[in-house]
């Protein structure tokens, strides 16, 4: 098995109306990689939150800006245990590194849960800036 196998690439515009389509794709893909139902839900949530943040923060709510998503099946440290790697790319503003630290959950605040959900749901969540694009890499391994 190759160490990293492209499963699907999705390009969308920064329009919340198509979030449902991306969620619809990722859950069965995660299932095909071998994740159980609860993990499929977590991966779906993490990706939803990541796109939501790109739309709201990187693109300031503007529609029709490009977002690219790639799904790779990856090997875990134990090669028998596969994982799913999701990378998002956008051309929006650079995030504020302090904001990306996120806020503690559990407070009656309307917002500030997205990063927490992503970090709770995935094993790896890394934001990087490459030239004029933002890259987000999230990985989850089968336990």
């Amino acid at each position: 098995m190759p160490r990293r196998q492209l499963l699907l690439r999705i390009q969308l515009m920064s329009n919340p109306a198509v979030l449902c389509g991306v969620r619809g794709a990722v859950s069965p893909l995660a299932g095909a990689v071998g994740f159980g139902e609860e993990d499929c839900h977590k991966i779906t949530l993490a990706l939803d939150e990541a796109i939501t943040n790109v739309i709201r923060h990187a693109y300031g709510g503007k529609l029709e800006r490009p977002i690219k998503i790639e799904f790779h099946k990856v090997n875990g440290k134990d090669a028998a245990k596969a994982g799913l790697e999701i990378t998002l790319t956008d051309r929006g503003v650079k995030p504020n590194p302090d904001a990306l630290k996120g806020l503690p959950p559990g407070e009656l605040r309307s917002g500030g849960l997205g990063l927490h959900f992503m970090r709770q749901s995935m094993d790896t969540v890394v934001h990087t800036r490459v030239g004029s694009t933002n890259r987000l890499r999230m990985v989850k391994y089968i336990r």
């Binding site: 979030l19 939803d48 939150e49 559990g106 917002g111 997205g114 959900f117």
Partner: protein, 113 residues
């Protein structure tokens, strides 16, 4: 996502079905706030039985409803949470801040806490 309202004495019950995400959470929030702030309804009950998926923007709408109800000394009650909606509220560590019941009957008959 669809949201519709049933009006009882001093109570509005919202029936929500479908996924709650960034595409529709603003409409959900607006429905809650209109009932609480403008119509001054003292008890708003949200039926989430038909909601199989909710994300942080949906949770934020529920939080806005809860906050408005506290400001106005009204009640804001949830019932019929799916497994995944419960998981997401759990992740948010807000589960205990909401008044949550299994079904409509319990939600309607529960005394104010």
């Amino acid at each position: 996502m669809q949201i519709s309202a049933r009006h009882l004495d001093n109570t509005t019950i919202f029936d929500v079905t479908g996924d709650i995400d960034l595409a529709n959470s603003p409409a959900v929030r607006k429905a809650f706030l209109t009932e609480l702030r403008e119509k001054k309804i003292p008890r708003v009950i949200v039926n989430l039985q038909g909601v199989k998926y909710i994300d942080s923007s949906g949770i934020a709408s529920l939080v806005e409803g809860l906050k408005a109800s506290r400001d106005l000394k009204a009640r804001f009650i949830l019932f019929g949470l799916s497994k995944s909606a419960r998981e997401v509220l759990q992740l948010s560590r807000l589960l205990k801040l909401f008044e949550i019941y299994e079904n409509e009957e319990q939600a309607l008959s529960a005394e104010s806490v």
